[in-house]
C-alpha cells in the first residue's frame, strides 16, 4: 500500500474523527474468531517463529494481514532510527519509500504510537492523495498500527487498506493488533540477528586486519652491536593503522614508525604496501631521500585523496652512530641526550606520505647517537592517550619518563612508558593503536676529551682513560690502555703535522667499555684491514712493526673503522668486554 503523505502535522485522533486505540499486548476480541482467521494468525505465528530473512518475514505478515483482515492492500514500514524515517520495505505496487516521522497517516501513527482507523481517507487532512494518483489505486479506508516490540521500542508501522465491502471495525482493530504485536517481535528479532551477523562480519574483518598488521611487523629485532632496541605494538580493539620496522639493510639500520589513516583492513594493507615499497627501494640501492620520495609518490598516485600514512623513516649508521631521518607527518621525534640529560624534540620534515607528490624534499635531519642516547618514536596512541577530564598524556610526561629511566634497558623503558600511560588513563579503554620504538645506544654517557696529536699526550690520555674506566676490572683497563695507545700512536705517526686535535670517547658498559678514537682532517686509514704481524718468525727476522694492531685485535671484542669522506673523519671504535676467565 502506498504511504500517505500529507503536509499536516500529526493530527489528533479526535480532530480527524478516527478511532484510536493504544497498542495492547492482549487485545480484546469482541467476536469469536472464525476458524479461517484463527488459522491464518496461527500460520503467521508459526512462520514468524521460524528462521527467516526480512523480505520473507514481511511477505508473510502482509499476506496474512490481508487475509485475516479482508483487506485489499497491506504494507509494513520499518523505523530507521538513524534518520528517524519510516521506510516501506515492501509494497505490492511501489518500491521502497521513505517518509519522515509525522508525515501522512503512517507518520502520524508512528509519532503518536497509536492505532489510527480512518473510515474515509479522502476526508482526513493527514491523508496524502499523491500516491494514489501515481499508482492508480483508490484508497477508501485504512487501518494503521504502530509496531512496538517487547521492550517498548517502536520498530515500525503496519497499514491495511480497503476492507472488503466496508470499513475496518473494532474486531478488525483487535485482530490487527494481535498481528502487529507478533510482527513487531519478529521484526525486532530479525534486526537483532542482522546486527549480530554484521558484527560477526566486522569481527572477522578486524581479525584479518590484525593479522595483516602483525604480519607487517619484523619477526625479531635485528642485532646491532652497541645498540639496544625495543618495539611494542598494542593494537586497539577497533584496529588502527600503526606499524613499525627495524631491519638491517645495506644502508644501515632501518627504523620506521608509521600510522595509516582509517580503521580496519584498509590501513593494514596500506602499511604492508609501504613496508614493501620501502624495503624494495632500499634493496635497489636507494638512499634515504630517494626511498622516501619513491614511497611517497607511489602512494600519492594510488591512494584515495583522503588517505595517507604518517611515517618516520630513519637510517642509522652503526659505525658512525649518525642517524638520518625524514618524517612524513610523524612527530614528535624525541632524542634523549644522555650527556646533557636533555631531550631534543624534532618535528616532521614533510607532510604525510601519500598525501601528494613531493615537489621539493626538505633535507633529512641528522643526529648523532652518543652513548646512552635514546631515540624514542611513539605513535599518537601514546601522546594522545586520554586521561581524566579529556587531558592527553602528552609529550612532557614522556620526556619526564625518559629523564628518569633513560639509563635503563630499552624494554624496561618501554614498560615504564606504557605503565605511566595506563595509570594516567585511569582504566579508560585504549582507543587507538599504541606503538613504541626505542633505539638506545648502549653505555653510560660517554666521557670525551680531545688531545694533541703527540706522543707526549700519552700521559694525559692514560689519566683520562683511568678516570673514565674506574669501575672496570684491572685487566680490562690494561687492555683499554693498550688498544688506545696503539691506535693513538698510529694516528700520531701517520698524520701530517698541523692536523687538528683528535678525540677519545669512552663509554663504560656494565661489564666493559666502548671506546672510539675520532681523527679529523685525515686520510683514510683502516686499522681493521692491516695484516697480522708474523709472530712465528725467528728472532732475527722479527720486527716490532704491526705488533700493536696484532695484539690489539686479540684484546678487543670488536674493532671497527668508519671513514666519512665529506668530513675527512676516521672513527676507530673498539669494545672491551668481560675479561676472559
Amino acid at each position: 500500500m502506498p504511504p500517505h503523505s500529507t503536509p499536516s502535522p500529526a493530527a489528533t485522533v479526535e480532530r480527524s474523527g478516527a478511532h484510536v486505540a493504544t497498542p495492547a499486548h492482549a487485545p480484546q476480541i469482541r467476536k469469536p474468531l472464525s476458524r479461517d482467521d484463527l488459522e491464518a494468525i496461527l500460520a503467521v505465528t508459526r512462520a514468524l517463529a521460524a528462521p527467516f530473512d526480512l523480505p520473507t518475514m514481511l511477505a508473510e505478515v502482509t499476506t496474512a494481514a490481508m487475509r485475516v483482515l479482508h483487506a485489499e492492500r497491506c504494507s509494513v514500514w520499518l523505523h530507521d532510527a538513524a534518520t528517524d524515517e519510516l521506510v516501506a520495505e515492501i509494497s505490492s505496487d511501489i518500491g521502497r519509500i521513505r517518509i519522515p516521522f509525522g508525515r501522512g497517516l503512517v507518520g502520524a501513527c508512528a509519532t503518536s504510537r497509536a492505532l489510527i482507523n480512518v473510515p474515509d481517507c479522502y476526508e482526513d487532512p493527514r491523508f496524502d492523495t499523491a500516491t494514489d494518483r501515481s499508482s492508480g489505486f483508490r484508497t477508501r479506508c485504512s487501518l494503521t498500527l504502530p509496531l512496538i516490540d517487547h521492550r517498548g521500542e517502536l520498530v515500525g508501522a503496519m497499514q491495511v487498506l480497503n476492507k472488503d465491502g466496508g470499513v475496518f471495525g473494532a474486531d478488525d482493530e483487535a485482530l490487527a493488533q494481535a498481528l502487529a504485536a507478533q510482527c513487531a517481535v519478529a521484526l525486532s528479532r530479525v534486526r537483532m540477528t542482522e546486527a549480530l551477523l554484521e558484527g560477526e562480519k566486522l569481527k572477522r574483518e578486524l581479525e584479518l586486519a590484525h593479522a595483516v598488521q602483525l604480519g607487517a611487523l619484523p619477526a625479531s629485532m635485528p642485532v646491532v652491536p652497541g645498540y639496544d632496541m625495543h618495539a611494542t605494538f598494542l593494537p586497539a580493539a577497533q584496529t588502527g593503522g600503526d606499524t613499525y620496522d627495524l631491519a638491517l639493510v645495506d644502508q644501515g639500520l632501518l627504523v620506521v614508525l608509521g600510522d595509516a589513516t582509517g580503521h580496519g583492513i584498509a590501513p593494514a594493507l596500506l602499511v604492508m604496501q609501504m613496508h614493501a615499497m620501502l624495503r624494495m627501494a632500499l634493496r635497489m640501492g636507494a638512499d634515504l631521500e630517494a626511498a622516501f620520495r619513491l614511497v611517497n609518490d607511489r602512494l600519492a598516485e594510488t591512494l584515495a585523496d583522503d588517505r595517507f600514512v604518517t611515517a618516520f623513516i630513519g637510517l642509522l649508521d652503526p659505525a658512525t652512530h649518525r642517524l638520518r631521518f625524514l618524517s612524513g607527518g610523524q612527530g614528535p621525534i624525541l632524542h634523549w641526550r644522555a650527556a646533557s640529560r636533555t631531550c631534543d624534540v624534532h618535528g616532521p620534515t614533510s607532510f604525510p606520505l601519500g598525501a601528494m607528490p613531493i615537489a621539493r624534499l626538505r633535507p633529512a635531519v641528522e643526529l648523532e647517537m652518543a652513548p646512552g642516547d635514546v631515540l624514542a618514536l611513539l605513535s599518537d596512541g601514546i601522546y594522545e592517550y586520554p586521561g581524566p577530564g579529556g587531558a592527553l598524556f602528552g609529550e612532557a610526561r614522556v620526556t619526564d619518563i625518559l629523564r628518569a629511566c633513560a639509563d635503563q634497558p630499552a624494554s624496561r623503558l618501554a614498560d615504564r612508558l606504557l605503565a605511566a600511560a595506563l595509570a594516567f588513563a585511569g582504566g579508560a579503554p585504549q582507543d587507538d593503536d599504541v606503538t613504541l620504538v626505542l633505539l638506545k645506544r648502549e653505555g653510560a654517557a660517554a666521557a670525551r676529551r680531545s688531545f694533541a696529536r703527540s706522543i707526549d699526550a700519552i700521559d694525559e690520555i692514560v689519566a683520562f682513560a683511568e678516570a673514565s674506566t674506574a669501575s672496570l676490572a684491572p685487566a680490562q683497563r690494561e687492555s683499554i690502555h693498550f688498544v688506545i695507545e696503539e691506535l693513538f700512536t698510529n694516528m700520531v705517526k701517520y698524520t701530517p703535522d698541523g692536523a687538528p686535535r683528535m678525540s677519545i670517547e669512552i663509554a663504560c658498559l656494565g661489564d666493559g667499555a666502548d671506546v672510539t678514537l675520532i681523527d679529523t682532517d685525515v686520510d683514510k686509514f683502516d686499522p681493521t684491514t692491516e695484516p697480522d704481524a708474523r709472530v712465528d718468525l725467528p728472532i732475527e727476522q722479527r720486527t716490532p712493526g704491526g705488533l700493536g694492531l696484532h695484539v690489539s685485535r686479540r684484546l678487543v671484542e670488536s674493532l671497527t673503522y668508519a671513514y666519512d669522506f665529506a668530513r675527512r673523519e676516521g672513527r676507530t671504535s673498539f669494545r672491551i668486554g668481560r675479561p676472559a676467565c
Partner: protein
C-alpha cells in the same frame, strides 16, 4: 712514569708504564747493558707495542754478542700480550708467583 733500576744483584728492575712516551728512555737505558740481562717485570704495570719494540731490539742486540734478555716476574696481563705477539718464543719468560 717509568723507572729502570740496575740492582746490585745484576737484575734490572723496571717499574711503571712502558708506553710509547717512555720507550725512548727505556731504550737508552737498556742499550747500555750487555751479556745476560735479567729484567724483573714485577712492578711493570703496562707495556705497549712500543715497549715490545724496545725489548725486541735489546734482545736482538744481546743475542748477537752471545748475551740475552731474560724476563722474570711477568704478570698475567703482560704475559697475555707476550703470548699474542709471539714474544713468548723470543724471550725466556718466568712468570710472577
Amino acid at each position: 712514569m717509568l723507572t729502570l733500576e740496575d740492582g746490585a744483584d745484576g737484575i734490572v728492575r723496571i717499574a711503571g708504564r712502558l708506553d710509547a712516551a717512555q720507550a725512548p728512555a727505556a731504550q737508552a737505558h737498556l742499550d747500555r747493558l750487555a751479556g745476560v740481562v735479567t729484567l724483573d717485570c714485577k712492578r711493570l704495570d703496562y707495556i705497549s707495542s712500543a715497549g715490545l719494540g724496545v725489548l725486541l731490539k735489546t734482545q736482538k742486540r744481546l743475542l748477537a754478542s752471545a748475551g740475552k734478555l731474560r724476563l722474570i716476574g711477568v704478570g698475567p696481563h703482560i704475559r697475555d700480550i707476550f703470548a699474542y705477539s709471539g714474544f713468548d718464543q723470543v724471550f725466556e719468560i718466568e712468570a710472577a708467583d
